[in-house]
Point group: C2
Chain length 200, copies 2
């Protein structure tokens, strides 16, 4: 088994959501696994000077249209949240609270959280919602509620975000295949091709 | 014959160059023509707050890698210019000096100018170079040299740029298919699919 892919994502990135629905299948097709690595995209915006596409002049209407168009083409439900963007600290902290000891459940919760946000348009940052999604997956919701408040998990998310930045991650989703960087949902076909061919 | 596509581009956009090599063929495949419409991308940066990807913190190295990777995949020569970005006023003015009376030659000159910049890595903003490229195409080079200095052509480029902005163009390349907007070289496959299916 070759090295796993690293899939960096932000829970409030709609293109990250769309990529999250395909990345595992693409990797599995080529005998690879995927490390899911949520980080705080806002931290990179402070460096790049970028804003959410929705908050960037001229780009909001186009982006909403493009997202719906991409979702229809991909055949997935997509609901743009009424409140956007929101700070996804709870989502990412809940993931890191689980990932070391229960990696499969961490990923299942991340997928459920993403689905709540962009599949259903809910406020996926609310800890009550995240705890309920956890319970549905057989994860102790109270453990999640407590964990996201700990200094340890708060520090973990900071470290993971800094590590992403140190590696050159400036947007979301951002995927490394054998240290080859790919930015954006629109690079997933290239990721697949890279895995298929070993690079070009 | 259905309405032509509108292809908005900036001469110093490398992704615009890559799209320029495919857009006519995609349109022709579906019985469409293409209006090439150069504009000044810098004018939109003043609104969006964006900069050239090369001047955006963290993004330069990735972008240069991505461009070479995309070019290899597309099978086209790509040479990143030593001086980048540069103001492409002369390139766009030369195009508009020709387009009303000699549209085919205007497009041929635009293609030659783009090739000089990103196929060969030359400084394609120099009027001597543009005039020489024009002469190679049987266009009067002195006419081009004189035309880019006129108030009329300077005003024309300003008008075309403002018209692009008024229509919602905030990046390059930017393509309209029957008023459906597509931004970026990575949307060309969707443009093709839209033409093929009539939209989805």
């Amino acid at each position: 088994m070759s090295e796993p892919l690293d899939f960096y994502f932000e829970f409030y990135s709609p293109y990250g959501y769309m990529a999250s629905l395909r990345i595992d299948e693409i990797a599995e097709r080529h005998g690879r696994q995927v490390n899911w690595k949520p980080f705080m995209l806002g931290a990179t915006f402070k460096i790049t000077g970028h804003k959410s596409l929705i908050d960037t002049p001229m780009m909001a209407e186009y982006t909403k249209n493009d997202l719906q168009r991409c979702a229809r083409l991909q055949g997935v439900a997509f609901h743009f949240p009424d409140e956007f963007p929101k700070a996804s600290l709870n989502c990412a902290r809940a993931y890191y609270a689980l990932v070391d000891d229960q990696p499969d459940q961490a990923r299942a919760l991340a997928k459920a959280n993403y689905h709540a946000i962009f599949g259903l348009g809910q406020d996926g940052t609310k800890i009550e919602l995240i705890a309920a999604l956890a319970e549905d997956l057989g994860i102790d919701g109270q453990f999640i509620k407590d964990a996201v408040q700990t200094l340890e998990i708060k520090a973990r998310l900071k470290q993971e975000t800094q590590a992403a930045i140190d590696r050159g991650v400036f947007g979301a989703p951002f995927i490394f295949v054998d240290d080859q960087p790919f930015w954006g949902n629109d690079r997933l076909d290239q990721v697949n091709h890279w895995l298929e061919t070993g690079g070009w």
